[in-house]
Symmetry: C2
Subunit: 349 residues, 2 copies
DNA sequence: CTGTTAGCGCCTTCAT
DNA sequence: ATGAAGGCGCTAACAG
């Protein structure tokens, strides 16, 4: 059916090994003219190496596994897009896996990927324990965890890439404090992941440092109705804002654990008859594409996603071989938009 | 390294062929007790067949290619998520490809997929001509085009799955007419794709049938600044709305070719100092997850994505073998929300 | 510098 | 009902 290395060899009057050598850049093992002849034959016949055969022989495959909670979530969709385009430059294809943040599904995916010969996996998981990946590391899988800082007891060969969540939360909170807010709320879903915990801690430590009394600070951790859906975040945020604003001493500013919650919070603020950016300030986290399309545009903490995607794939494909077990923290940036922009200092009490 | 079929055979006191037969469900060729013995050995040793070897031998691989314009676009992200979960149920993994709507990149991806032994491709492309896929169909690739109705001159073996765009646009437009609007605008990016053309035609035929004079109807087809980015849609919509509203006889209602444009249009309406849902009505298309989180929530035409994803994967993995070249049109549904809900009849002039 | 050789792990006739 | 044997297309020793 398809043209094989044998036929190329015949057409170029060389042996299959020589063709293989050309294919694999072992130029020193042949005359330049031989190489030219082989390359011509390859072009003429339209030869493409059979990757299954190559994989069977070498054990290597030019694919990486990308495990995300859900590509339907715009944050992960954007990340997946970036990862795919970076990987492609190195000749790697991307196998998509949606884990729904379920450790068991994560493990099942790793098993599948391993069975497919995929030994490089970019795991987007922020679960505190990742003991379930240990067996795969031991079998020789290279795993880089994204969106998760390294934790005590982590396998030493696991590399982590994440934004500095604590710093991000501090930037968000400081911004609100500088605007004159004194009654702040933090809105999040279940704080099951280390990044949410870090963001919450960053928030708490900042308000504390500013001398704000603990009873001025509200923290909403939705226990969830079972489903850990990424897509319910906005609804949770909305309900949280409504509830918090109906209390005796309602907050005047909200920090949300991510933009989807923040968008929901904005909706909840409107439900309560208040204006976002005027009566109440809201800050998100991530700077997803939609953050500046909502009304009002969302002040948020930007993750430098393109750089993070590039760095992560780099570690996965090259770096990890050199220095596994590293932990990389990327720098977030405060992006001020209308959801806080129009609150004058002191006005918000 | 890994355990092979040979070792299982030895452990079960049978030949490799028998193990293979067990693996492939050829039960009739062995005693039930033999089968049990083999299965025990498989479980005991934790044997997983080597897929590269299997692929090399059979030419088949349990993967499908998913080519989308961009997973960063929430519509495609949602679709990708659904496709992956449906495919998984049939034991298929998904290779992700972002085409950016570029026919050349599409062809390159198909080439890559073919080289990887992937012979089932779900191509989300709405380009009018798909002559570039013809060679792959001829080589034996199964391709189902999603989001594209079949066109004259299409390769006969190409199956198409799409929503009924014309009907959707009619639903959207009728809704606005029933609300009393008489000066309507249609906002789209470049109308390069057949679905955009169908939506535009559905809009035009509906206003025409309602006896609206052609000069009351505005159509905005952004020529684009070169980049066909899915993510610029909102910006285009915003600029379009601003421009159209500044004309002498501004429209009172907008139909957008999809929700991202519609979200942009809403922003543009606000830029012009008008209120969406009160002064001006906006209808989108797709019903992406964000449609009911924006402010105001977006009236839109829902595509039944879960069913569409299931049907498409079905055709790709089973159906296409039986009856290739089919064309499937799914039924859209009008979802009324606040972006049109609060416009009383007749008030909008 | 180039060719020969021996598998990688599996499936699949064809014998037995 | 089971086994033996060959080969899918490629790479990597090892000869020459």
């Amino acid at each position: 059916m398809a043209v094989t290395i044998q036929e190329v060899a015949r057409a170029a009057n060389v042996s299959p090994s020589t063709v293989s050598n050309v294919l694999n850049g072992r130029d020193s093992r042949m005359l330049p003219e031989t190489k030219v002849r082989v390359e011509q034959a390859i072009a003429q016949l339209g030869y493409r190496p059979n990757r299954a055969a190559r994989q069977l022989r070498t054990g290597r495959i030019q694919m990486l596994g990308l495990v995300v909670p859900s590509v339907a979530n715009p944050f992960w969709g954007t990340f997946a897009q970036l990862v795919e385009s970076v990987a492609l430059r190195s000749g790697f294809r991307v196998l998509l896996c949606n884990s729904e943040r379920d450790p068991q599904r994560e493990a099942e995916y790793l098993e599948e990927l391993w069975a497919d010969g995929v030994s490089s996996v970019l795991l987007c998981s922020s679960l505190p324990s990742i003991s379930h990946v240990q067996p795969f590391l031991e079998r020789g899988m290279t795993i880089v965890a994204f969106d998760r800082t390294s934790q005590l007891g982590d396998p030493p060969s696991l590399t982590n890439v994440s934004v500095d969540n604590s710093l991000g939360a501090q930037l968000a909170t400081s911004h609100l404090l500088e605007l004159g807010h004194r009654r702040l709320a933090f809105v999040s879903g279940r704080v099951h992941s280390v990044n949410r915990k870090e963001r919450l801690d960053g928030f708490l430590s900042t308000v504390d440092r500013a001398g704000i009394a603990a009873n001025e600070v509200l923290v909403w951790k939705d226990s969830g109705s079972g489903r850990a859906g990424d897509l319910d975040a906005a609804e949770v945020g909305r309900a949280a804002a409504r509830e918090l604003l109906s209390r005796p001493c309602p907050p005047t500013a909200f920090v949300a654990t991510n933009d989807m919650f923040a968008i929901g919070v904005c909706a909840g603020v409107r439900d309560a008859g208040l204006r976002v950016g005027a009566d109440v300030s809201v800050v998100g986290f991530d700077d997803i594409m939609l953050a500046d399309l909502t009304f009002p545009a969302l002040t948020t903490i930007r993750q430098p996603l393109p750089g993070m995607a590039a760095a992560t794939v780099d570690y996965l494909l090259d770096g990890a071989a050199g220095q596994p077990g590293q932990s990389v923290l990327m720098r977030p940036e405060l992006i001020v938009r209308a959801s806080t922009g129009r609150c004058a200092t002191g006005e918000s009490q």
